[in-house]
């Protein structure tokens, strides 16, 4: 009895609770030009932003659904049954004590304030549409580092935002980048001044609580010459029987010699559509790294991209995806070598289990003028049972013959002999599977801050729990 309860408790999605909804402002379901204008008016935005939103809305409205990824799942999205704006707290607080209690409890349960004290330079916590908490270490502020939620960023640094907003991901890029540009709310705005190194990571945490919620945060990070920053984000949502929509846009600008690392561990509940556009531009000798873990969600379509614009710049996309029952992770990477002596590395690891489906969709290109580029692509898939599926769709367009390209792909199954070997060393079947899976993910977890790596390993152990018949 007790044993089954314990097992049920760990076997289920851990972050799936929901709090009572105490909305201070909640928009009716559905989207129109008026809804877009209302969001902008509510936020008291400059006119250029309002007009940009409206243009983006019309583009979204006219643009057909993507014809890749998972078309049948995409068709199930009912844009009329989404709440596009919901505010639960009237202010973005600097002290957890001032955050409304139920919301604070949620972030407590997720361990955010604790992590902040131990190993972060700054934290932003977003609940539904707005950031409810925001803080940055004083010494960084003194060095001129700007770390704000995006709305405050627009209010306090309108010129900087106007210059860079939509400069990396234009709203016309795809249907969901248009949607995000039309209804964005929250997200992070970061500027790191020349030569400043932010040693400890800054973290953003995104939580959806309401049913049928749409979360559309917008993040813009500008790392000025020779600076560096590591940004980490996590996300969870309650488990509901109806779907929620998360559609973010992230733009990174790494100016000459700058280094941006952006790490994500996405653990949405399996009723969340996660359709995200992430792209960075790397100038001369700059470096952009996407470390991207996709564990949760119903359908994820996300292909972190880097445009290697400056000579000697470098891009890395390291990603893992776990697809369990009813899940499809359509993930990958895009890298465009526009300048000479640029290098890139893609490592993609995907696991499918219980009928889940993982796809790697990759695009690497080298432009005709770009001499001596180096490209390395490795994608590995591990399939845990029959009926689960893994596909790879790699594309390489190399228009300069001096490029050196390496590509490796593998699909493997967990063998019974491997599991038996580990069981013979005292490990249950579930533990054995978790060891194999964590080992498979090791090249990824190695790149995460330790606390995240431990968390990810625990998550994967939970995914293996209760899975053995």
């Amino acid at each position: 009895m007790a044993a089954t309860e314990a097992r049920e408790a760990v076997g289920e999605y851990k972050a799936g609770w929901h709090d009572p909804e105490n909305a201070t402002i909640r928009f009716d379901f559905g989207l129109s030009e008026q809804v877009v204008r209302d969001i902008s008016a509510l936020k008291n935005e400059p006119e250029w932003m309002t007009e940009l939103r409206v243009k983006a809305f019309h583009h979204f409205d006219n643009r057909p659904m993507p014809t890749w990824g998972n078309m049948s799942m995409l068709e199930e999205i009912d844009f009329d049954k989404v709440c596009y704006y919901l505010r639960s707290s009237d202010a973005t607080e600097k002290d957890w004590e001032d955050v409304p209690e139920d919301i604070r409890n949620t972030f407590d349960k997720l361990g955010i304030p604790e992590a902040e004290q131990k190993w972060l330079s700054g934290v932003t916590a977003q609940y539904e549409s707005e950031a409810v908490y925001h803080s940055i270490r004083e010494d960084l502020e003194q060095q001129g580092v700007i770390f704000l939620d995006m709305d405050s960023g627009l209010r306090e640094y309108p010129e900087l935002v106007k210059k860079w907003f939509c400069s990396v991901v234009p709203y016309q890029d795809n249907k969901f980048s248009a949607l995000n540009t039309a209804v964005w709310s929250g997200g992070s705005f970061i500027y790191v001044p020349k030569g400043v190194h932010v040693e400890m990571p800054v973290q953003a945490y995104f939580r959806i609580n309401a049913k049928n919620m749409g979360q559309f945060e917008r993040t813009l990070i500008i790392a000025d010459e020779g600076s560096s920053i590591h940004y980490v984000e996590g996300c969870t949502a309650p488990t509901y029987s109806t779907d929620s929509l998360h559609s973010a846009v992230v733009e990174l600008i790494a100016l000459p010699g700058a280094h941006i690392r952006y790490s994500t561990v996405q653990n949405w509940s399996t009723n969340v559509y996660n359709l995200v556009t992430k792209r960075g531009i790397a100038h001369e000798n700059a470096k952009i790294e996407w470390v991207d873990g996709n564990i949760g969600s119903k359908l994820t379509m996300k292909y972190p991209a880097v445009i290697l614009k400056g000579e000697g710049s470098h891009a890395e996309v390291i990603s893992v995806a776990y697809s369990g029952k009813g899940q499809h992770q359509d993930a990958g990477a895009k890298i465009h070598h526009l300048a000479s002596n640029t290098t890139s590395k893609i490592l993609s690891k995907s696991i499918s289990k219980d009928g889940g489906r993982g796809s790697y969709r990759g695009m690497v290109s080298v432009s005709p003028k770009a001499e001596n580029c180096k490209l390395n692509v490795v994608c590995d898939a591990l399939i845990l049972d029959d009926g689960s599926r893994s596909d790879t769709y790699p594309t390489m367009e190399v228009a300069n013959p001096s490029a050196r390209c390496e590509h490796e792909a593998s699909v493997s199954k967990v063998s019974d002999e491997q599991v038996f070997y580990l069981m013979s060393r005292g490990h249950s079947e579930e533990e054995a599977l978790a060891m194999i899976v964590n080992g498979f993910f090791e090249p990824f977890t190695r790149e995460l801050p330790m606390e995240y790596a431990v968390e990810l390993n625990k998550l994967m152990a939970l995914e293996m729990e209760g899975s053995i018949g």
Binding site: D416, Q418, Y421, M423, G426, H427, S428, E442, P443
Partner: protein
């Protein structure tokens, strides 16, 4: 503590896979402190016997029993058997890419001998001593389990696990194959240390008498087509190496 039950008692064991019989009535008893050897041609059922004692899920036991210290092993899952004290040194150890040796050893010791045994200075010392004895370099701990190991490294790693896990029953499936003389001597030392003068027992599966010179088995059993057709002392191993198995196969055929 010491029970009068044998460490391992196999009675009339019949087993196979997908309706194909492989073991056809095995009887074997290993008392505490003894080392027994099983010899036999390829395909005679040696690895199958080891797998069934360990609980490999592919095989069906159709008759008979396997007891460890009087406890019914066949009722237990493989990891429960491991925790009860069964250890198998695999003929073909499996690679687990990304799983670090050091981490894996600590977790296995914790699972089998308890959290306390896997903690602190004492564990580190036991580990260090065992590695020195087996001539394994420290850098080994950072490698991935059996991933890219040479044949000899795999076998040494199995013995390292044997020494750390301190089982009641150690089964070594062709651990000597692919080892040089020094390796064999080291392995033999490991086995003797694990079994002699203890409540434990060992079952060595081998083709060669060389390892047996160093371990001095109490009994040697010959397996032919899923049956033990002859048992004897260490001298039987030498006889088999000289004469082969044909004479025994003829005997077995005549008596069947």
């Amino acid at each position: 503590m010491a029970s009068d039950k044998p460490v391992l008692e196999i009675s009339n064991l019949h087993a196979g896979i997908d309706d194909t019989p492989i073991l056809r009535g095995i009887n074997l008893e290993i008392p505490a402190g003894e080392v027994h050897a099983i010899m036999g041609r390829n395909g005679s059922g040696k690895t199958t016997t080891a797998n069934i004692i360990m609980g490999h899920p592919d095989f069906d036991v159709t008759d008979g029993s396997v007891d460890l210290d009087g406890e019914d092993l066949l009722e237990m899952e493989p990891w429960e058997r491991a925790r009860e004290g069964v250890f198998l040194s695999f003929q073909y150890p499996q690679a687990v890419p990304g799983l670090q040796v050091g981490n894996f050893l600590r977790k296995s010791v914790a699972a089998i001998r308890g959290e306390d045994a896997a903690k602190g200075a004492e564990f580190r010392k036991t580990l260090k001593d065992a590695m020195t004895e087996l001539d394994i370099d420290r850098s080994f701990l950072g490698r991935y389990v059996n991933d890219g190991f040479s044949g000899g490294e795999k076998k040494r790693f199995e013995i390292l696990q044997l020494m750390l896990l301190q089982p009641k029953l150690a089964i070594l499936d062709e651990t000597d194959s692919g080892l040089d003389i020094d390796g064999i001597r080291t392995v033999a030392k490991g086995i003797n240390a694990a079994v002699r003068g203890t409540d434990s027992g060992a079952l060595i599966i081998t083709h060669y008498s060389r390892i047996l010179e160093h371990v001095q088995p109490d009994k040697v059993h010959v397996l032919i087509k899923g049956r033990i057709v002859k048992s004897g002392g260490p001298e039987l191993a030498l006889e088999l190496e000289e004469r082969g198995y044909e004479w025994l196969e003829t005997e077995a055929a005549n008596s069947a």
